[in-house]
């Protein structure tokens, strides 16, 4: 439905265009804006139904994961989130696409799981994947301590020591969270290991980038150690609860009318354009361009 996105250099002739798949269907729901964000970042992105990836048929065309570089498990309520968020989706994907996804990962490609997608990655075992074991459930995302769904913006502290390719060059970021089951939970030794390996990518923080220390609503769900996002040991699989695609335009930010006024007082104008969440997708696109 959207018009073609213009204004970026993805059409430059000598630049390779990474191909991305955003999964859809079975109650997933952030597919349009995730697809839009990837296109803004310079990818050739497609919204593809889970059943199309499984059957390998998209209309009268063949579709295979191996022809793509970035696989996105987006937000939503897959299978209504009954029996645990992301649980039934993981079961379906493990059953039908487990090996294909593992191959995709071993080919050095990128997997991004956002919110429900993160919950699915965790249930598949694609993260944290200690020792490159991509089928073990070692951590969990469970019910928010508050007991309710929450929509709020959070400040995130980004671990510069992490191998995560999606967050290169970003030290803090503001994004919206929107979930009822986002509390990161794992046994203490697993959490220690995540930190040791640099696999903790995002932590909920205050305005100054200091960890939230569990304080609500800075840490909106009671996540242990304020963990908001983790990656696999390679840094090429990244799961996070906040929604980078939810900050695709500067008017998505809750303070944009205030910032606009503040700039106006300095005789400046706000620079219209994309939101800072797009940087996550740009990093992915850049990585593929340099690696493939």
């Amino acid at each position: 439905m959207e018009k073609a996105v213009r204004g970026f250099d993805m059409n430059a002739p000598n630049k390779m265009k990474p191909k991305a798949i955003v999964l859809t269907g079975y109650g997933l729901n952030c597919d349009y804006e995730t697809d839009y964000s990837l296109k803004l970042a310079g990818a050739e992105s497609y919204r593809v139904h889970i059943n199309e990836v499984i059957s390998g048929e998209m209309g009268d065309r063949r579709i295979s994961l191996e022809d793509y570089h970035i696989l996105v498990f987006g937000g939503g309520f897959s299978w209504a989130d009954d029996h645990g968020a992301g649980v039934l989706m993981a079961s379906k994907l493990r059953q039908h696409l487990g090996e294909q996804i593992e191959l995709f990962v071993r080919d050095g490609k990128l997997v991004l799981g956002i919110c429900n997608g993160f919950q699915c990655l965790v249930n598949l075992g694609l993260v944290p994947a200690f020792d490159f074991q991509y089928r073990e459930r070692r951590v969990a995302l469970t019910y928010n301590d508050s007991g309710n769904f929450i929509d709020t913006w959070v400040n995130l502290k980004i671990n510069s020591g992490s191998p995560c390719v999606f967050t290169k060059g970003i030290s803090t970021l503001e994004l919206p969270v929107r979930h009822g089951e986002g509390k990161f939970y794992a046994a203490a030794e697993e959490i220690d290991r995540l930190f040791e390996n640099g696999q903790v990518v995002l932590q909920y923080a205050d305005e100054n980038g200091q960890e939230a220390n569990g304080q609500w609503p800075l840490n909106p769900n009671g996540s242990l150690k304020d963990i908001a996002g983790i990656c696999d040991p390679t840094g090429r699989i990244f799961g996070l609860m906040p929604h980078p695609e939810g900050f695709n335009h500067y008017t998505n930010h809750p303070d944009w009318t205030r910032k606009k006024e503040a700039l106006a007082r300095q005789g400046k104008e706000i620079i219209p354009g994309e939101g800072k969440g797009i940087r996550i997708f740009r990093n992915a696109v850049e990585y593929i361009r340099t690696s493939f």
Partner: protein
């Protein structure tokens, strides 16, 4: 063999659900519970081998990190156990998704009667009596209408047997049959109608009998094997003629009599004269108005390539019975209207409005659900319905009034967007043609929503379906929505409409009018369970279904797409041009009705409407001297239920999904002030947006519904303009909720007055829509907002809700980057009040607080206000406005304070500089609810240009925004009348519901 899997969180994890119930037990009943932990139960009525059972337990249903599970009872260390499960036939989505996952993992299929059922066990720890535990079970956790429950004490608990194996399969054991109905006399048909609960209207009965006795009709019917009317036929006619489907009240004849002037007037058809006529006139003038008054929703132009679609309705009675189920069914149901508008639209936004009794209600009457529980339930229902549909919910209202204990109101509103053209045709056009197939897609049909009243009075058995109150299923619908957008874009859909009230009878009955006929095989309609009679299949209101017309050559592709999306679609008949609606069951015709029967001359409903003007009713202005302590007074008003913060609702609604959010429900420095209007950018590559706002002011109805309507429309207009809405593009949506207006000397003695109130509200609707240029893109009416509540002495008392109009305004914004929010931005900014403050405190918050009603209700003079609105729009577009806020309930003091609170900054204000101050007392100036007013803040360097824009208009520079957080107001004599810290004001405003999450 049946097995039962029990799953719970490991002990070291916080059980947030249990903690929530513990908190509610304290809040609702004052019970101190030590701990509550929840066990999820799956009853598997499937034959599985032991290794299969272990496989699904480990691979699907137990998270090794957080959960533990067993096929044996796992409850332990409790004082009490509560078990809660659904009644048979209630939608158990989690049961069906569990089934899906099991089939997928094990590669098996279920037999027709095999299924998975979910239920819950609550381990209660604490010193509670059995009675207290039963109260928690029955009055907090379960609703008898849709659920069943049991309480176990430690002594009663058999830890080997546990809860047994609850299987809530529906077994009807009934062979479907068609019966014929005798029509020998009007009286006899009337009697049978009552007996069978056909709900035929007495005045319609002669028309129906005449039809079935016509020679030509008898002859034609004989040819298809029919003689006397069948139950299927009469149920169909009854549905089509109901007030819900046909809007008989709004199309009625009103004999209006003004008791003061003696003036008598006959008002023929409020819908035609006050809604249709003005809207068509405005449509002529505004080329953005695309399609109104016939489809499931109205359509307006968004840009060259897109239309937007808007509609709203209420779901009052079901929510009043089962708050969660009613409201989730309401929000999910309203989303089907845009899906079924034109060739179908994609949903972009939802809104809500709740009118309930006070949360702390302690009156003598016993409503079915206490307002607090009811409100919690409706909030949660809309939360799950909206969030799980992937549609942002960025706006809503909550209004408390004692008289809503009779029946609560739950408003739901939906917006969609669609490409302006599909193929080569405009997307808002659709029709059915002979030869096209009738397809039902989505959910299956059960006894849901059939004759709600009879169902409620039937005795429950273990296997009786509890169908009259439903639980909406956003998951099934979301899959269908994804599917339909794709089918539309592939040009596979020629007509689409939803199955709401009246089910197939309404969706097929109405769509067949275009082709002039249809034939349906009722036996092909997929059922939830066997044993439904033909008439039940035809009128069932089972949710999540659409009816679609597809050309035969497109069927294969349509079905392939449907399968891809895991959506059930079934061909159940075809459209034709026979002039008849023919229903067959297993080859035998059970209904054969001429398409034009419903257009024949059914008698119009008639009402006596008697208007007693407010002063004749004895209303006067109250006698209140000038308050001496305005500071504490302001804080007290800010803490009142209809003024204070209700942020906990907005926060649990996903208002940003789809990535389109521009102005959020909560704005300002602390992101905690309600916005005037929400703005979204539905086409992500474009800077065009849509602003929406909603208002309701039922308190004013106590004085005059004409002015209630005027004030409500004006407020919605101003709220939309305040964020940057375009005065030349204002779309309207009217949702009327009215008490019964049919006079009855014993049951409704003030019916004539209520009828006059309805007439007057409609007159105002007509007048203000014409003068503001607002086409009514859509609207609905919901009558009968009355309840008969049990009193303490075995009596029942009738409680009628106040006449209520929710008005919605939508506006397309050319460039959203020019939008403004309501919060003060910078110290030193100038504070302007635009619009005149008058002595208009009738039914105001201030008078209510003083226990008075008053007489001087706010009135709206559009001619005077319009130039100010245009100037404001110009100023916002020119970037002169730093913040803008419409003054509404509570008056200037409240709304100036809100602007200051939004910026967490102070204000210094001089009251005598507001337009209209002379002649008012300080109290009047602070708390009058005059319409047409805004609070605007402006950067000092823009002062001259800004003031020039408004030269000659009613605007006053009343003060300045300050760095210090003092909110200070001086009167005309430079005497300080309010001097409060903004943080204290905010604290007072947040306090009442501050603890809710």
């Amino acid at each position: 063999m049946v097995s039962r899997l029990e799953i719970r969180l490991k002990n070291e994890l916080i059980d947030a659900e249990g903690a929530g119930i513990r908190q509610k037990s304290r809040e609702y009943f004052g019970f101190e519970v030590d701990a509550i932990r929840v066990i999820r139960v799956l009853t598997l009525d499937i034959d599985l081998k032991p290794d299969q059972l272990e496989q699904i337990r480990n691979e699907i249903f137990t998270n090794p990190v957080t959960e533990e599970s067993s096929y044996s009872p796992i409850a332990e260390g409790f004082d009490w156990l509560i078990w809660i499960g659904f009644r048979p036939g209630v939608r158990d989505t989690a049961g069906s998704t569990a089934g899906e996952a099991i089939k997928d993992l094990l590669g098996i299929d279920f037999k027709p009667d095999q299924a998975v059922y979910t239920s819950k066990l609550y381990e209660i720890r604490g010193q509670l009596s059995e009675e207290q535990v039963k109260k928690i079970a029955g009055d907090l956790l379960a609703n008898d209408i849709v659920q069943q429950w049991k309480v176990f004490s430690v002594a009663e608990w058999d830890k080997d047997k546990g809860i047994g194996f609850p299987v809530t399969r529906v077994i009807l054991d009934h062979e479907p049959e068609v019966s014929t109905i005798s029509i020998q006399s009007d009286e006899e048909l009337g009697r049978i109608s009552l007996e069978r609960n056909l709900a035929l209207q007495n005045r319609d009965i002669p028309v129906i009998r005449r039809y079935f006795l016509r020679e030509d009709i008898l002859k034609e019917r004989k040819m298809v094997g029919l003689d006397l009317p069948t139950d299927v036929e009469l149920e169909y006619i009854s549905q089509a003629r109901s007030d819900h489907c046909n809007h008989n009240t709004f199309r009625g004849l009103f004999r209006y009599h003004d008791l003061l002037t003696g003036n008598r007037e006959t008002v023929d058809n409020l819908f035609k004269s006050c809604i249709e006529a003005p809207t068509l006139k405005i449509k002529e003038e505004k080329d953005w108005v695309t399609s109104v008054l016939w489809d499931n929703a109205g359509v307006g132009r968004f840009d060259d390539d897109h239309y937007y679609v808007i509609t709203g309705e209420t779901h009052n009675s079901p929510s009043n019975m089962e708050a969660y189920g009613g409201s989730i069914t309401g929000i999910v149901g309203i989303y089907r209207d845009p899906m079924g508008t034109g060739k179908g639209s994609k949903l972009i936004l939802g809104m809500y409005g709740y009118c309930v009794g006070h949360r702390e209600y302690e009156g003598e009457l016993t409503p079915h659900l206490h307002p607090r529980r009811l409100l919690d339930g409706v909030i949660e229902g809309v939360r799950d319905g909206g969030n799980k549909s992937g549609i942002p919910t960025p706006y809503g209202l909550l209004f408390f009034d004692e008289s809503y204990v009779g029946k609560c109101l739950v408003f739901v509103t939906a917006l969609g967007i669609m490409p302006a053209t599909i193929g080569h045709a405009s997307s808002h056009k659709k029709t059915t043609s002979p030869g096209e197939l009738i397809i039902m897609a989505g959910g299956r049909v059960g006894k849901d929503g059939i004759h709600g009243v009879t169902a409620a009075s039937e005795t429950y058995s273990e296997h009786t379906p509890a169908g009259h109150v439903q639980i909406g299923d956003p998951y099934t619908q979301k899959k269908m929505a994804d599917f339909l957008v794709e089918a539309r874009d592939e040009e596979l859909i020629t007509f689409i409409t939803d199955n709401g009230g009246g089910g197939l009878s309404s969706s097929i009955g109405e769509s067949a009018r275009f082709s002039d006929g249809a034939r349906v095989d009722l036996d092909k309609v997929p059922l939830k369970y066997e044993g439904l009679d033909q008439w039940e299949i035809w009128i069932s209101e089972s949710q999540e279904r659409m009816t679609i017309a597809v050309k035969p050559e497109h069927l294969d592709r349509f079905m392939a797409l449907s399968a891809k999306h895991a959506v059930e679609s079934t061909v159940i008949g075809e459209y034709n041009d026979s002039g008849y609606l023919q229903l067959d069951y297993k080859g035998k015709t059970c209904a054969y009705i001429r398409m034009d029967l419903l257009e024949s001359d059914f008698p119009q409903w008639e009402f006596d409407a008697q208007w007693t003007p407010p002063d004749m009713r004895g209303l006067t202005e109250p006698v209140i001297s000038e308050p001496e302590d305005h500071g504490p007074l302001l804080k007290a008003i800010l803490s009142r239920p209809n003024i204070c913060a209700r942020n906990w609702i907005a926060r649990q609604y996903d208002h940003e999904v789809q990535g389109s959010s521009v102005v959020k429900p909560l704005v300002g420095k602390g992101r905690d002030m309600p916005t005037d209007a929400a703005v979204v950018r539905p086409v992500l590559g474009s800077n065009k947006g849509i602003a929406v706002s909603q208002t309701l002011n039922p308190s004013y109805s106590e004085i005059d519904t004409y002015h209630m309507t005027g004030a409500t429309i004006d407020e919605a207009v101003r709220k939309t303009l305040a964020v940057g809405g375009d005065p030349n593009h204002l779309g309207g949506l009217d949702n009327f909720c009215w008490p019964t207006i049919e006079y009855h000397p014993a049951n409704n003695p003030d019916g004539k007055y209520k009828a006059a109130q309805l007439v007057r509200a409609n007159w105002a609707l007509r007048d203000y829509c014409l003068s503001y240029g607002i086409p009514l893109l859509s609207g609905k009416d919901s009558m009968y907002i009355d309840g008969n509540l049990e009193g303490p002495y075995g009596e029942r008392r009738k409680v009628s809700g106040p006449p209520t109009l929710m008005f919605t305004v939508s506006s397309v914004i050319e460039d959203i980057t020019g939008c403004v929010t309501m919060d003060a931005k910078f110290p030193g900014d100038l504070v302007y009040v635009l619009g005149e403050t008058r002595n208009e405190l009738g039914a105001s918050e201030y008078y209510q607080m003083m226990g008075a009603v008053g007489l001087n209700v706010p009135t709206v003079d559009v001619e005077a206000l319009w130039p100010q609105y245009l100037a404001l729009h110009g100023a916002i577009q020119a970037g002169l406005v730093s913040s803008c806020h419409a003054v509404s309930r509570g008056g200037l003091a409240v709304h100036l304070a809100m602007v200051a609170m939004g910026g967490e900054l102070g204000m210094e204000l001089l009251l005598h500089l507001i337009p209209g101050f002379s002649g008012l007392t300080v109290g009047q100036a602070l708390y009058s609810e005059s319409c047409g007013r805004f609070v605007i803040t402006v950067a000092p360097e823009k002062k001259e240009v800004f003031e020039e824009t408004f030269s000659g208009m009613k605007i006053g520079r009343a003060g300045v925004v300050t760095e210090s957080t003092r909110f200070s107001v001086k009167d005309g004599l430079e005497k300080t009348i309010i001097d409060e810290d903004v943080n204290d004001l905010k604290h007072a405003w947040k306090k009442p519901f501050g603890d809710l999450i």
